[in-house]
Structure formats: C-alpha cells, structure tokens
C-alpha cells in the first residue's frame, strides 16, 4: 500500500467503514511507515475530540411548548378546507396512472389542435370555392340564362310583365346592387348538382324561349310576348330552387 492510499483509508476510521482487508493493509502500512503512523495518531486524536462533541447532545429548551405548538399546527392543518375536487384517491399517485394521464392529456390536446387545423383548412377551401364561383356572373353558367338574369334587372322596361314578376325582378335587381347579395345569388346560380348541372344550365334548358331573349338591344314584340308568358314560370322555378338550395338530380 502506498502512503497516499493509506492516508485516504485512515480517514475511514469508524467501525464498518473499511473492509477487513483494507483495515489489515492499513495497519500493516502504518506499522512500517513513521510518517503515516504520525498522521494516523493525529487522525485518531481528532476522532476522540469529535466523539466528545458527539456525546453532547444539543439541549432542546422548552420542549413542552414546542410539542404544544406542533400539535396545534397539526390540528390546524387538518381543519384546512377540503380541496375543490375532494380527496384525491391514493391510486392516482401510482406512476402508471400518472403516465396514462399525461398521454391522455397530450392526445386530447393534439386532437384539439389537429381538428382546429382541419376546420381552418376546410373553411379556407370553401372560401376559395365561393370566391372562384361568385366573382362575376360570367363564371357561373351559360350566356343565355345570364342574359335572362340580367333582363330581370331592367324591370322598368317591362311594364307588361305580371306584377309578381316585376316585384321579383326588382328584388333581384336590388340584390345585384348589393355586393354581398350578388355574391350569394351568383353562388346559388352557379351551384351544381352531383351531375355537374348548374342552376343556370337547368333554367336555360327548362325555359329555352327565355334564353333566346336578348336584352342589350331592346325588345321586340316576340320577346315581349315570351317574357309575359314564361317570365312568371321562370321566377317560380328560381324561387323553388332557392328554397331547395340548388338543382336536384331527380328533377
């Protein structure tokens, strides 16, 4: 054993701190090394003094008062209001429960944010589709019914039209001056059924005579006659379609 090893071991001088072999080696080394023997003596002297301190236990003054204070504080801690959710069952302290609770919380949080992201994407897609469908009447259907819609806006020129047609046309005209209503109308007229037929296409096919009326150059007698005879039916169809929300494949 080297001196530095011995001088480490000799500080573990109390019973049970060194193994039997370590103790024996230390004693052998100290027996043959005067410097370590001197150190060993000093260390044992220190232990003697520490043991004197060990044997003097600090005195607790007024232990009775301290006991009373503790008992009072303990009683008060018991009287504290119950938790909002009541006593938590002991099994909730189990590591497995805590891990499961963390995973569940994490999954719920993730699901919430994922659903929010999906919803946001759906909304964005719908907005995009609405915008693409409703910018102008040109984007939504056939030229003929587009003109049919437009002529309805010029109600003051169709005094011969039935009164109901005139009122409806006035309403549509009003809508078209309102951007939001125009957008709704265009969207509605551009709505497709599952076969891809728009409301405009449907109306165009159902009222072919109206589709032939041109509105940009005034009306002749034939056109006036068409408007008078078919206009009301057109408005009724529009009203029905608007109530249904679009063209139906089983028409």
């Amino acid at each position: 054993m080297k001196c530095h090893q011995a001088q480490d071991l000799m500080y573990l001088y109390r019973p049970g701190e060194l193994t039997g072999n370590q103790h024996q080696e230390l004693e052998e080394h100290v027996g043959s090394c005067p410097a370590c023997a001197a150190e060993w003596k000093a260390v044992l002297e220190m232990e003697k003094r520490v043991s004197e301190v060990r044997n003097i236990e600090p005195r607790l003054e007024d232990a009775v008062h301290l006991t009373r204070t503790i008992l009072r504080a303990a009683a008060e801690s018991r009287r504290q209001p119950a938790r909002l959710l009541g006593a938590v069952p002991e099994w909730t302290a189990a590591p497995a429960f805590r891990i499961a609770a963390c995973i569940t919380l994490f999954a719920l949080t993730g699901a919430f944010f994922l659903q929010t992201a999906i919803d946001a994407r759906k909304v964005a897609t719908l907005e995009g589709r609405l915008k693409s469908q409703s910018t102008t009447p040109n984007t939504i259907g056939s030229q003929d019914i587009q003109r049919a819609g437009l002529f309805l806006s010029g109600t003051d020129r169709f005094t011969a039209l039935p009164e109901s047609l005139g009122v409806a046309a006035a309403e549509i005209s009003q809508w078209q001056r309102e951007p939001a209503m125009a957008t709704m109308l265009a969207t509605l007229f551009g709505r497709q059924d599952r076969h891809g037929t728009t409301m405009i296409d449907y109306l165009s096919k159902k009222h072919p005579r109206l589709a032939s009326v041109r509105i940009d150059d005034g009306f002749d007698d034939r056109e006036r006659e068409i408007l008078a005879s078919d206009g009301e039916a057109l408005l009724k169809d529009i009203e029905t379609l608007m109530q249904k929300g679009g063209v139906h494949h089983d028409r």
């Binding site: 573990l12 301190v53 006991t67 204070t69």
Partner: protein
C-alpha cells in the same frame, strides 16, 4: 433510490404500534410520537443549522409533514430513517436559503443567533467547550453535502447505510464525502492548534 431495509426500530420497538394508533386518530398517540422524537430531530437540525430558532422551525415543520404523510409511511422502513429524511430535506432547504441570504446580503450570522448558540453551548456543560465550538464551526463551513454526511455519521452517529438511505446516495459516495469532510476538519484543527501553540 434506496429501499429501506430495516423492519423495525430497535431502540423503539413500539413505534409501529404507535404509528398505527396515530393513523386511527387515537387520543395522545401523535403527542407521544412527537415527544419521543422531537429531541433527535432538533439535535440534527441544530447541529447543521447552528441556530436554535431555525432548528425549532425545522422540528415543527418536520412533524407537520409526518402528520400529513403518515398514511404514506412504509411500515417496513425504519421510522427514524423516514423521519430523518424529512428533517434533512427541510434542514437542507433552510441551509441553502441561509447560505443564499448570507451571500446576497453579505451579512454574517446575526448576533442573536450567535448568542443563542453560545447559550446552548454553555448549557452543554462540556469538557472542552472551545474544541466543540471549533469542530461545529468547521463543520458549518463544509459544502452542504459533506456537512450533512459529517453531521449524520459523526455527530448523530448513524450508520453509513442509514446515511446513504437518508441522503439517497450510495455508500461509496457517503464514504467519499465523509473522507473529504474529516480531512478538512483535521487540516483546519491542526492550523488552529498550531496558532494556539504559537500564542502560548
């Protein structure tokens, strides 16, 4: 984490029964538990903190924790080991806050606490009062971990295994810290003795 090994308190074999009575809220049981153990808790706290008021605070808080957590105490463990673990944790926290307080405020220990310690010292009726004070002072200037190991092993006279359990250390770590602590105290005692020798 070390698992407790002892199954009873050799010094106080009735402790498990006493704890059972405490859990059943039997009158006077908790008082008896406090009366039997508060002296040891105070002794440990005072030896580390060297302040009577702080040590009394630790005793109070320790027993309130015992009261609140007694249902969670593992009867297979030695009660005093569990009690000392709570005490050491509270003492350690207070020691850290005291060290911080001293470091930040650059204030030495208050005259009051020194007087208190001095009063205690007188009452101890020791043979070599100066020496005891020196050893305690030197122990107080050790790093917290070494200080706790030294106090628990050399002053409170616990076994290396008990110290390891209380401080959640391996026995080798306890021995290493013990070795450093004793070397430090031995070296500084030598210095002090040398100074006194030169003075005389």
């Amino acid at each position: 984490m070390h698992t407790p090994q002892q199954t009873d308190d050799p010094g106080t074999p009735h402790v498990p029964e006493l704890i059972g009575r405490c859990l059943r809220n039997e009158g006077g049981a908790f008082r008896q538990l406090v009366e039997e153990h508060q002296r040891y808790v105070f002794s440990l706290a005072f030896r580390v903190l060297r302040d009577e008021d702080d040590a009394r605070d630790v005793v109070q808080e320790t027993f309130i924790r015992v009261w609140k957590n007694l249902h969670a105490y593992d009867m297979r463990a030695k009660f005093t080991t569990w009690l000392y673990t709570i005490t050491v944790n509270l003492t350690s926290d207070m020691l850290k806050s005291k060290t911080r307080r001293r470091r930040w405020l650059l204030a030495p220990e208050t005259a009051e606490s020194q007087n208190s310690a001095a009063t205690m010292e007188e009452e101890m009726n020791i043979v070599n009062r100066d020496l005891a004070a020196k050893i305690k002072e030197l122990a107080g200037s050790l790093p917290p971990k070494q200080q706790l190991v030294f106090v628990l092993r050399d002053l409170q006279d616990l076994t290396v295994n008990e110290v390891a359990q209380i401080l959640s250390m391996s026995t080798n770590t306890v021995k290493t810290n013990l070795c450093y602590a004793r070397k430090f105290i031995r070296a500084h005692m030598q210095e002090l003795e040398g100074m006194e020798g030169r003075r005389s």
